[in-house]
Amino acid sequence: MTKKTKKKVHLTLTVNGEEQEVAFAPHKTLLEVLREDMNLTGTKHGCELGECGTCTVLVDGRPVLSCLALGLDGEGKEITTVEGMDDKGRLHPLQDAFADLGAAQCGYCTPGFLLTAMALLEKNKKPTCQQMKEALSGNLCRCTGYIKIYEAIELAAARMRGVKAEIRQESIYGEE
């Protein structure tokens, strides 16, 4: 029995192409609503202050920090989380490439990187390494050193362009 009256807001959010009615406390961030009220725990959190990029989701196709967005402001927008990247279980080429190349090690920063990369490839089908670095400069990773991430994006981008692309042997085995 609580002294405080808690009023939840009740609205419809469109997440990964699906409309869902959700009720949540109005001061909750989109990160908290996704994880705690919609059971979509694929979006992670590393700091909740906008200092690491781990919580990245797409809102109307643009990568933003879900820890600094209100759940309320998600109304009327198309929200994409990592759970929405695959197509009926068929992995997005980025997901395949990240998994195959070891661009995901502990995997905790991975959803944020995947979505930022997906948004990049929407705008730029053949990004240079420098362009990738700049687009991903707001996502921190402590495991990979980023190198396999660029290689995975490059591979996925090529496949998405319909080019037959192979992983460089040196990426896997090192230089001779």
Binding site: K3, L49, V82, D100, G102, C106, G138, C143, Y173
Partner: protein
């Protein structure tokens, strides 16, 4: 590029088995777990760095609507700690607090916000004590003591070891240098904050899911603190870690607290630390001051090395005693050191406790040694790469401190990076502002001894074979991103001739899996790998017997490949693996095999010999090319060449990932990572945030060229050695050495920041010694060293008795 690989699975870039789960967001990390009626825990932490706790009033917090329980130190009076010799932590501080951030009370409430609001209602009265902000203050402050134990005053531990004849060694030298170095403390900064969920079921059994690297050690700590709850009624499940790097290998306050709260409330209790709290958990790299005195011959070969290290340990012991020994252990495994002396001191200070971070106590002395050798090279006008090549430790031999070096591919590593980087055309020859630096290192493949004394294996693997042809493999190992969950089935798949994906991996569950000591010390590939080989070979033996009988083929003629078991000389004579299992189960009954592993007995028998030995050592060499702006001091790393002697790559993709990740973390340490504290408003962390604790972004990571050198080690599974820590170590000294090559100044400190470089440049311009670095050491009264005769003196690894010291005509102690 033809790659000779005698194996079908080992050495191939199999997709990591948790890869797809991670890229779809399905992997459940600890904070992703939810149980019905779950409560949330928040910890109240001390705002002061050193104080007695005079009183704690939790009444208002208990009465706050939504709060279900409040705990204080009295509720968990049994101390714990990772090392048996430093059981100095309480789940919630009992009588005193030892750093700003030390947990004092805990609240369990219906949601996190309520718990947070209730914290403000807890009134704690503190009796402030003198704050000990540095190792200098600790060395000079006998009272008040931060802890009631320790060698003397606030000096936690003093180590003094001597191998060989130091006076003679220095007398033989053509050139002697003495240098001071400092390596600032830094932290792991895993992307995932620590989190744990505890559940106490109606039968009185506790389960805790936690982001921990060491479920077995957590299990032991829980059993100790929560007694009389039996250890067999406690289950620890390590969830996949979102990064560990050593920061999640202590048993932690919050893990024990949520367990107790679950017992007290009868409901599941979860905690997830904020990023700031992760800084207070810390257990990161010790700040270390070092004095190194080295004697060398004209060709750079070492005649004697006298090394002193001073560690700032923070408020608790953690792994610190081991860390102290580690700062003196591995100096001898790269270059031959015929006479070696090591003095180490660890101090308690009122800051978050330091512990193991990737490299555990070895990066700091490695920095000192590699920079000092660079200075030697300059003094003697030698090429630093040549100097190292000439003085490599021979393979299959003992070091002065009784570490057994097996394979050592370091020479090959040096040659690769020298050639790849065009070292000869660059070193000493690039224009002002551009420079190259070289450094080498080594790391062990699992500590020779476990954290607590016992005669049991360090790791165990169990196999269950199913009639469907699937295999389940059980091991206590923990996936922290390094890929151990993938190495395990790859080993089994190789031996049984099946696909990695046919194998169900069951890990890190103290109820279900045999003990593995944990993912620390780079032990898992070597130890778990060897245990898995044993378990799989035993399964293969059973199957071979049954199938051999069935087919009338000698068991030794049977091959296991492509999910079949068949006659090597007549491949069409065989059966599927599934059929083979059925055959074996019919003959032997339910099938199950085990394998276990313990490292070889160490050769050193003196006190302290337990830290350093390992079944094998990996080796790394790197060249770093930098661009230093002489006007600003800003250092940019343009390129890194890294060669790592891995023995054999079990999975090259995973190996490359570890090398690249190690380079990244090394660069962070070299240039910008610092655990900084202020003492003008009390001793507090200067900025416990991911914004202000600088870790490199994509824009700071340079191009990297990696060479993997494979010189299979007989002690490694398929010859494999470690790769998770080794390649980090040479980066920091290589950067410092490169800065010297670029602008002619020495920064004898990590991190190498623009302010320090510019300061050194200004000194140079004034004609003063162009060096920035430490100039003084804490005052320590060293104990009498334990003296050990070196192997080449005919020593047996034991400490010399008084009589033996006289016989060896060793000099009288200073």
């Amino acid at each position: 590029m033809a790659r000779k690989n005698p194996y079908k699975t080992i050495g191939t870039p199999v997709r990591r088995i948790d890869g797809r789960s991670k890229v779809t967001g399905q992997t459940k990390f600890a904070d992703d777990l939810v149980l019905p009626r779950m409560l949330f825990c928040k910890l109240l932490r001390s705002p002061v760095s050193h104080a007695t706790i005079t009183s704690v009033d939790i009444s208002k917090a208990l009465a706050y609507p939504g709060v279900k329980a409040v705990l204080t130190g009295r509720d968990l009076p049994v101390p714990f700690g990772i090392l048996p010799v430093s059981q100095d932590e309480h789940s919630l501080c009992l009588d005193k607090v030892r750093f700003a951030g030390d947990p004092v009370a805990a609240v369990a409430a219906i949601d996190e916000e309520t718990a947070f609001e209730a914290l403000d209602l807890i009134k704690v009265e503190y009796g402030k004590l003198k704050e000990i902000d540095s190792m200098f203050t600790a060395a000079d402050t006998a009272e008040p003591r931060i802890h009631d134990y320790g060698d003397i005053g606030n000096t936690h531990k003093l180590v003094a070891l001597e191998f060989g004849e130091m006076e003679k060694g220095f007398a033989e030298a053509d050139h002697i240098r003495e240098d001071l170095f400092f390596f600032e403390g830094n932290t792991h900064l895993p992307m995932e904050q620590h989190a744990a969920l505890a559940f106490f079921d109606p039968d009185g059994k506790l389960t805790i899911w936690s982001s921990t690297q060491t479920p077995h050690y957590l299990h032991r700590a829980l059993a100790k603190v929560l007694a009389p709850l039996a250890a067999s009624h406690i289950r620890v499940i390590a969830t996949p870690n979102g990064g560990g790097f050593g920061g999640k290998s202590d048993p932690f306050n919050h893990e024990i607290v949520v367990s107790k709260l679950a017992m007290v409330t009868g409901r599941p209790v979860k905690i997830c630390l904020t990023r700031e709290e992760v800084f207070y958990c810390h257990r990161g790299r010790h700040p270390v001051l070092m004095k190194s005195k080295i004697g060398v011959k004209k060709d750079g070969s070492i005649t004697a090395l006298d090394f002193e290290s001073y560690l700032d340990g923070g408020g608790y012991g953690s792994y610190g005693v081991a860390s102290t020994y580690y700062t003196g252990a591995l100096q001898t495994v790269t270059y031959k050191v015929p006479n070696y002396k090591f003095n180490g001191a660890r101090f308690f200070t009122n800051k978050p406790p330091c512990g193991p971070k990737r490299g555990h106590g070895t990066p700091q002395p490695r920095f000192a040694l590699e920079v000092q050798l660079d200075k030697i090279a300059t003094d003697l006008k030698l090429d630093p790469a040549e100097l190292r090549l000439r003085t490599l430790h021979p393979p299959n031999s003992l070091t002065a401190n009784y570490l057994k070096v097996g394979t050592i591919g370091l020479g090959e590593c040096i040659k690769k990076v020298v050639a790849g980087s065009n070292w000869r055309e660059k070193y000493g020859k690039l224009p002002l502002g551009k420079g190259v630096g070289i450094a080498c290192s080594s790391y062990l493949c699992g500590a020779g001894l476990p954290i607590y004394w016992n005669n049991m294996p360090q790791t165990g693997v169990q196999l269950k074979l199913d009639r469907s042809g699937g295999v389940a493999v059980f091991c206590g190992e923990t996936e922290i991103g390094q890929g151990s969950d993938t190495v395990l089935p790859m080993v089994v798949a190789e031996i049984l001739g099946i696909d990695t994906y046919d194998i169900r991996v069951c890990v890190a569950d103290t109820d279900l899996t045999p003990v593995d000591l944990g993912s620390y010390s780079s032990r898992v590939t070597l130890m778990m790998g060897n245990a898995a080989i044993q378990a799989a070979e035993r399964a293969k033996e059973l199957i071979s017997k049954a199938v051999g009988e069935k087919l009338a083929v000698p068991a030794s003629q049977l091959a296991f490949a492509d999910r079949r078991v068949f006659n090597v000389s007549k491949p069409e004579q065989g059966m599927s693996f599934a059929e083979a299992v059925v055959c074996a189960e019919a003959k032997f009954g339910t099938l199950g095999t085990t394998g276990s592993y313990s490292p070889p007995i160490s050769h050193g028998k003196f006190k302290g010999a337990g830290v350093g030995p390992s079944a094998a050592y990996s080796y790394s060499a790197c060249v770093v090319e930098v661009d230093v702006n002489p006007a600003t001091g800003i250092v940019v790393v343009d390129k890194v060449w890294m060669a790592h002697d891995v023995g054999r790559s079990i999975n090259p993709t995973l190996v490359m990932g570890q090398v690249e990740g190690s380079i990244y973390m090394g660069l962070g340490e070299a240039l910008m990572e610092e655990m900084a504290y202020r003492n003008n408003v009390g001793v507090v962390h200067k900025f416990p945030s991911m914004l202000e604790y600088k870790s490199p972004t994509t824009l700071e990571m340079p191009e990297c060229v990696t060479y993997l050198v494979e010189d299979p080690d007989p002690n490694g599974p398929f010859g494999a050695k470690e790769v998770g820590q080794g390649p980090l170590l040479p980066i920091m000294p290589a950067v410092a050495n490169a800065v010297f090559d670029a602008v002619g100044v020495r920064v004898d400190e990590i991190p190498v920041t623009p302010e320090k470089v510019l300061k050194a440049l200004k000194l140079k311009a004034k004609g003063k010694e162009p060096r920035v670095g430490p100039t003084r050491l804490p005052t320590v009264v060293w104990p009498e060293p334990i003296r050990v005769a070196t192997p080449w003196q005919g020593g047996d690894g034991k400490a010399l008795s008084g009589e033996e010291k006289r016989r060896h005509a060793l000099p009288t102690p200073r």
